[in-house]
Symmetry: C2
Subunit: 194 residues, 2 copies
DNA sequence: GTCTATACCGTGATAGAC
DNA sequence: GTCTATCACGGTATAGAC
């Protein structure tokens, strides 16, 4: 039987702590002092595990991006009618967001003040573009309302999905799958009685 | 004929400059040095107009909240069938957000690190609650899809509306009214062909 | 109304003992 | 792997001249 709780940190377990604090206070609003208190070790000990505060941000963001781009490689995202692939990607992005909630939250909040943040924004744009292409295909198939403006609809769709990070807390209220389902249904069928 | 351009600042004109920088760099990521460079006056001169950096934040947030709560007092929000009032409020909130874009952007980004930020979050919750009540009424009237989870739908609706601040830039692409219209239509009718 | 100079503190990061 | 001590810097805000 192994220890139930580590008393020493790995870069990854420290990252999990740091990410929580980053989300709570914002990246810029978090000092190494804040991190050291949350982790229960001194500031300088943190530097034994990571080179800098920015490295913690980079690791967190990488993890989020890996999850999101992974969705685009899944079979449901590459085969079949465009509208089906679009709904699949919508649901899976919501699920990944919920599974990797703190990491994706951080990704969605970067403002571009450092190289790491600018790189993150660039990759996000890439991802959004890939999904916009799916919307275009679905529109060409006649499966989207004919008056839909593609770039605008892409943004509203992501707006709805991404907003989950602003309020979802695991184990409180709606479950992961219910949220993902509600997002898909609301985005594609709307709120109103038909 | 009055001067076309002021060469001195009022608290309000200084606020407009500060808010742009806050949005660009984040509130915590913005130093008085950044503000002084953007405004073209020295750091200490800023303190002639406002007492602190936080006061700038408070003024900006107040302005956003005044606009949003104002919508709830308008005739279209107080009379008629609930679903109609809900669609009216949705459109008007989107419009106010677009008209007061920088101020509302700031409001939506506060994290709760200071008293001002916590007060802003509290008032936002109040506002969201008022709109949630409208959704409840519309559901009771049978005007929302029967499977809609009210608190969840409220959050997705605001998620879609609020996400506008992440990408809208006046004078580029879609107009104010087109965006508001697209939000209402997408939220209530969905993206898919019926 | 704006400036220069400065007080004072918290920041990210390093050195070196244990 | 963690600590204490320390560094150089930049943070908000103030004092007082012009």
């Amino acid at each position: 039987m192994t220890m139930a709780k580590r008393d020493t940190y790995t870069p990854d377990s420290l990252l999990a702590v740091a990410v929580e604090v980053f989300i709570e206070r914002g990246y810029d609003g978090t000092s190494m002092e804040h991190l050291s208190r949350a982790a229960g070790i001194s500031k300088s000990s943190i530097y034994h595990h990571v080179r800098s505060k920015e490295e913690l941000l980079r690791r967190a963001i990488s993890r989020a991006l890996d999850g999101l781009f992974g969705v685009l490689e899944e079979p449901g995202a590459t085969g079949g009618r465009a509208i089906e692939r679009l709904e699949y990607v919508t649901r899976r992005v919501a699920e990944v967001l919920l599974d990797e909630l703190p990491y994706v939250t951080l990704l969605l909040r970067v403002r571009g003040n450092t190289d790491t943040e600018r790189w993150a924004m660039e990759r996000r744009r890439e991802f959004d573009h890939r999904v916009a292409e799916l919307l275009m295909e679905a529109a060409a198939d006649g499966d989207l309302r004919p008056d839909v403006d593609i770039p605008l609809a892409t943004r509203l769709l992501f707006g709805m999905i991404n907003s989950i990070v602003e309020w979802y807390r695991p184990g409180r209220g709606t479950s992961r799958d219910e949220v993902a389902e509600a997002v898909v249904r609301t985005a594609f069928a709307g709120l109103r009685t038909s």
